[in-house]
């Protein structure tokens, strides 16, 4: 919403092509980059000409993160008509992510969905006829980010965030009630109590941040769905993937596993397998949840894995699935290839034969070929991370970090013997930041809390 602060995001698709661009836009884009960029020629970007490219390194705590090319485009001659810096990173997805984080730490905030385009428009860069399109972008992307950020949030994380927020709100309400009604409510000895609470909150937020750094707040990855008729072997296949050492199942310590998805890593490529709980329990995904739901799942997915029972003839279910996946990125896995097979690849009409792999989930046959195929598709740029989702993750991480910093400020204020009303300013900031993580706004929370918890009155 804020029009002049500096925003940043990854501007390229999140694939493993090795190169990725981080775009920074806003008044302080150049200053912020100067904080983290060391040019080989020892030049400060503040002093360079517009539309020039500079070679150097992104440095954090005296440690080189990546070798980069930085382009500087000064306002108003840029896409957004603001100062724009683009950092071309070379180190792949993980490093790109790290560099982006460094940019945030240096003072930028994660861009909202469609925000670069929005700014470009608001600053008069984009033609008027495109206004409607911009509105659509904002809308669809916001909706997307909203539903996805909340949906993708691990259940356990959202429970934890809610719990911390509740705790913070209680403290604010207590302080505020005492300020508004000093004769009824006393803050005596409250500081000692609050410092214990902030210590606890800080450690909890730290844990969330650590798990976020491991990609566990949101499981960013290739959204994958497994389809197949009853008894085709979907769950055996999944179990084979999970059961092996290389498969990582995300789980935050001490919490229950999110039933909605499994996160599996193959050659470092992250797959989010959707709705697996359902698949694993029922086996009969098409039958149980219906063709319509399968279609929706497939539509939302970046990749469909179609499991065919090669030991039985194709039936109506299989044809329906073939129809669904035709226009998607897919792999067809001819399961039970260790048994006598009756289905030939050419039977699966309309499907690219190079996408068909013979496997046996039970005997662990062909899994390595499957994995190589995934690698090939990923590095070939055929399947991508959803960059929007990745950004959402970044944004939420950033919000948690902001909350952490705010609570640190509260601790500081307590140590500096500031009056209590100063505590609630930063507590409120923390509360708001955490609200963004779980998609809740503040509205009248505070006033309601004050009245429900504390007896005030003349």
């Amino acid at each position: 919403m804020i029009e002049s602060d500096t925003i940043a995001a990854i501007a390229t698709a999140m694939d493993n092509s090795g190169i990725g661009i981080i775009r920074i836009s806003g008044d302080e884009a150049i200053d912020i980059t100067d904080k983290i960029f060391k040019s080989v020629k020892n030049k400060k970007l503040k002093e360079v000409k517009s539309h020039t490219i500079h070679f150097g390194h992104i440095v954090q705590n005296n440690e080189i993160l990546d070798e980069v090319l930085v382009s500087v485009m000064k306002a108003p001659n840029s896409y957004t008509k603001e100062n724009v810096v683009e950092i071309n990173c070379h180190g792949g997805v993980v490093v790109l992510n790290k560099v982006l984080e460094t940019v945030f730490k240096a003072g930028a905030r994660p861009a909202e969905p469609g925000e670069f385009t929005k700014r470009a428009f608001l600053n008069g860069r984009i033609d008027l006829t495109q206004a409607e399109a911009v509105i659509d972008i904002i809308n669809s992307k916001n909706e997307y980010a909203l539903t996805n950020s909340v949906r993708q949030l691990k259940g356990s994380v959202s429970v934890k965030v809610k719990e911390i927020r509740e705790n913070i709100l209680n403290q604010i309400a207590f302080i505020e009630a005492a300020l508004d009604d000093p004769e009824h409510i006393s803050l005596e000895n409250y500081n000692e109590e609050l410092i214990n609470i902030t210590t606890l909150i800080l450690s909890e937020l730290r844990k969330l941040l650590d798990s976020a750094d491991n990609g566990r707040v949101i499981s960013g990855g290739i959204r994958t769905v497994i389809l197949g008729k009853p008894n085709a072997g979907k769950s055996s296949f999944l179990n084979t993937l999970i059961g092996e050492e290389r498969a990582i199942v995300t789980e935050i310590e001490g919490t229950t596993r999110d039933a909605l998805e499994e996160n599996i890593r193959i050659h470092g490529i992250s797959l989010n397998i959707a709705d697996t709980a359902g698949i694993r329990e029922t086996e009969d995904v098409v039958e149980k949840i219906g063709v319509k739901k399968s279609r929706t799942l497939a539509e939302e997915a970046d990749l469909v894995l179609f499991i065919v029972d090669a030991s039985r003839p194709l039936n109506e279910n299989d044809y329906e699935i073939i129809d669904i996946i035709k226009d998607k990125k897919y792999l067809v896995l001819m399961n039970k290839s260790d048994l006598e097979t009756v289905v030939k690849p050419s039977d699966i009409v309309g499907i690219d034969e190079s996408r068909i792999i013979n496997i046996s989930a039970k005997q662990n046959i062909g899994i390595d070929i499957f994995e190589d195929k995934i690698k090939e598709m990923f590095f070939g740029g055929e399947i991508n991370f959803d960059s929007e989702l990745f950004i959402t993750n970044e944004r939420q991480k950033n919000d948690i970090r902001n909350a952490y910093d705010s609570i640190l400020l509260v601790e500081n204020s307590i140590k500096n013997r500031m009056p209590e009303d100063f505590f609630s300013i930063d507590l409120m900031n923390a509360y708001e930041s955490l609200g963004k993580v779980i998609g809740e706004t503040i509205e009248d929370d505070l006033v309601n809390q004050i009245f429900s918890k504390f007896c005030m009155g003349k």
Binding site: K118, L128, E132, N139, L179, D180, R417, F422
Partner: protein, 628 residues
């Protein structure tokens, strides 16, 4: 019907309570021929509930009213009998003045002021009808049939519209204190399409001082040095002997009586339908809702100097008379209490304030302004704050000048009015410091620096006062600059000074401002090592100290205000149809059409409007700008 017709007045004010008084004074002082109606001239500036002015955040409002050129601060300075600065142990933003008033004197002094104000006429009569022509107010009618043709009307009807006072199964169709209710105006308002709410509030019993055993209570004294509310009151002129208040507590016996008789409360029988405020609950509310508390405070406050009546703060109630006697008598020190006036709940009509512009003018009816409890607020100070704004704006409209709006970053008055006209409000609205998001900037100590220029521009503040405040501002800035730029070496004298105040010794040179920022030091203490400082008034020193000490926080809030102002600056058309904006969510579209916000900032505060909707509006606005 008499058919008397009067045409010489410009502005007509309905009601002579705290809102009505400020509205009428502002209008008359701006040179408009003003007439103020009241159902009883004897009840001008009546305090029908608590006998005090100010308190947390309300004290801020009084100071702001004063800075704008209002009367409340001056009037309480004349008539207080005890004064206290609350929250002194906390930060400067929440310090708040509260004074006990001599109610009768408060009323009398305000009446004297009104009666001695040029252009102001006081008239006892009930206004029953408004005359609106083509979306514009043109006059009003009284119960006796007289018609007053005017250019603007300000409604400040307080708790009088269709008022009903209730305790137990007794229901009196009167306003507060048994005064005549105004039973006709509501119907006229409804005919104009105005949406009404029904709210309730309550007050405790008044008891005879001679029947109280004060030896069983804790004495509550005023401050040794009284600080005036008004920036123009001379501090030395108001130091005087003060009257004490007294503190006692309810106990388990009190609570048992209440619980045993709760079924006799009119709230339970359904006799009261109005919505009451959560922040001043009746004692029965407190006992039921906070069942784990075994005692509640009761403040015994004098109603005035020459009366025996005492106010039982904290024990408002609508229980039957016999239960009131029984429960009050359980309270320590009230064993033999004699009631002078019963506690009661009062129900009254007010409006849904969403129908108002931030100028306090009705959206659909030009020239019709309103303030106070009529707008769904509660409290004398909240009323007066709206009264002065409504008065100023009604006058400015008649004069054809630009009206004033105080925004949320300028004052509590801005927060109050913005909340009323923008947010859904289902109970009498009370000001609270937590409602002010920029409260570090909106302190009671700097209300003059924040708002005097607005009062001056409107014409209510004299050039002399305005220049005094501007001079003060310059002196403050100059002194802050001097402190920021005066280096301090790490010499022996300085180190000794720091040791004395248990402050860490300097390793390298610093400046005076840096030292003031240390929690254990302040401007006063630094005097010994700051020999060249100019001689400054205490109010300037106070500003310098606060601004330097809390500099970091203040700067952060100023940054937030900057962002806030950007959205406030993006204006929206009041009669724009949001259904024509594609891309708005349905709920947002409906809410925006209901509230018709005047700026993007206001739109963003409406419940149900999301940041994405604001983005859509932003793009839309931009499109319009390009097109035109």
């Amino acid at each position: 019907m008499s058919g008397y017709v009067e045409q010489k007045y410009d502005v007509l004010v309905v009601g002579a309570g705290h809102a009505g008084c400020e509205a009428a004074l502002a209008s008359a002082r701006l040179g408009l021929n003003t007439i103020m109606f009241t159902v009883s001239v004897d009840s001008i500036a009546l305090m029908p509930c608590n006998p005090n002015i100010g308190g947390s955040s309300k004290g801020h409002l009084v100071r702001e009213i004063d800075a704008l050129g209002g009367e409340m601060g001056k009037n309480i300075d004349k008539t207080f009998i005890q004064s206290k600065m609350l929250n002194l142990s906390k930060g400067p933003a929440v310090h708040s003045l509260r004074a006990q008033a001599d109610k009768k004197d408060y009323s009398t002094q305000m009446r004297i002021t009104l009666e001695n104000t040029d252009n102001l006429t006081i008239r006892q009569a009930e206004i029953t009808d408004l005359i609106v022509d083509d979306g514009k107010i043109v006059g009003a009618k009284t119960y006796s049939g007289a018609t007053y043709y005017v250019k603007a009307v300000i409604l400040c009807t307080g708790t009088y519209l269709k008022a009903r006072c209730i305790y137990g199964d007794v229901s009196n169709p009167t306003g507060p204190n048994g005064l005549q209710a105004a039973n006709h105006l509501t119907d006229s308002l409804k005919r104009l399409g105005i949406e009404m709410y029904r709210f309730k509030t309550g007050t405790p019993a008044r008891v005879d001082k001679r029947s109280i055993d004060f030896t069983k209570m804790e004495e509550q004294k005023g401050d040794e040095i009284v600080i005036p509310f008004s920036f123009s009151t001379d501090k030395d002129s108001i130091q005087k002997d003060q009257i004490s208040c007294w503190l006692t507590y309810t106990n388990e016996d009190t609570h048992k009586i209440i619980k045993d008789n709760i079924d006799r409360s009119p709230l339970f029988s359904g006799m009261i339908e109005g919505t009451g405020p959560r922040y001043c609950p009746s004692i029965e509310d407190k006992v039921i809702k906070f069942a784990d508390k075994n005692k509640h405070q009761v403040f015994i406050e004098p109603e005035g100097l020459d009366t025996n009546e005492m106010y039982l703060g904290g024990m408002s109630s609508s229980l039957p008379e016999d239960v009131q006697y029984a429960m009050y008598k359980t309270v320590q020190g009230l064993e033999n209490v004699k009631i002078v006036r019963n506690a009661y709940a009062i129900e009254y009509d007010c409006i849904n304030p969403r129908q108002l512009l931030p100028t306090l003018e009705f959206k659909g009816i030009k020239g019709l302004f309103c303030g106070g409890q009529f707008n769904g607020s509660s409290g004398y100070e909240e009323a007066a704050a709206q009264g002065i704004i409504a008065g100023i704006n009604a006058a400015l409209e008649v004069l054809g000048k630009e009206q004033i709006v105080i925004d949320r970053s300028q004052g509590y008055i801005g927060v109050l009015i913005d909340d009323l006209v923008t947010k859904e409000n289902h109970e009498p609205y009370r000001m609270m410091t937590s409602r002010a998001e920029y409260r570090l900037l909106l302190r009671q100590d700097n209300a003059d620096l924040r708002l005097t220029h607005i009062g001056h521009k409107a014409g209510l503040v004299s050039d002399e006062v305005f220049e005094r405040v501007e001079k003060k501002r310059k002196l403050i800035d100059k002194e802050i600059e001097r402190l920021e730029n005066t280096p301090i070496g790490a010499n022996q004298e300085v180190q000794d000074f720091l040791v004395k105040y248990e402050s860490a010794p300097l390793k390298t040179g610093s400046n005076l401002a840096e030292l003031i920022r240390r929690p254990e030091l302040d401007y006063e203490k630094l005097k010994e090592i700051d020999v060249d400082r100019p001689l400054l008034e205490s109010d300037i020193v106070e500003q310098v100290n606060i601004n330097i000490k809390y500099d970091g926080y203040i700067k952060r809030q100023l940054k937030q205000v900057e962002q806030f102002k950007k959205l406030e600056g993006k204006k929206l058309d009041a009669d724009f149809d949001y259904a024509t904006v594609s891309g708005l969510r349905r709920e947002a579209m409906q809410k925006l059409n209901l509230y018709k916000p005047l700026s993007l900032g206001q739109a963003s505060r409406i419940t149900g409007v999301s940041p994405a909707d604001i983005s859509v509006l932003l793009v839309y606005l931009s499109t319009k700008k390009h097109n035109s």
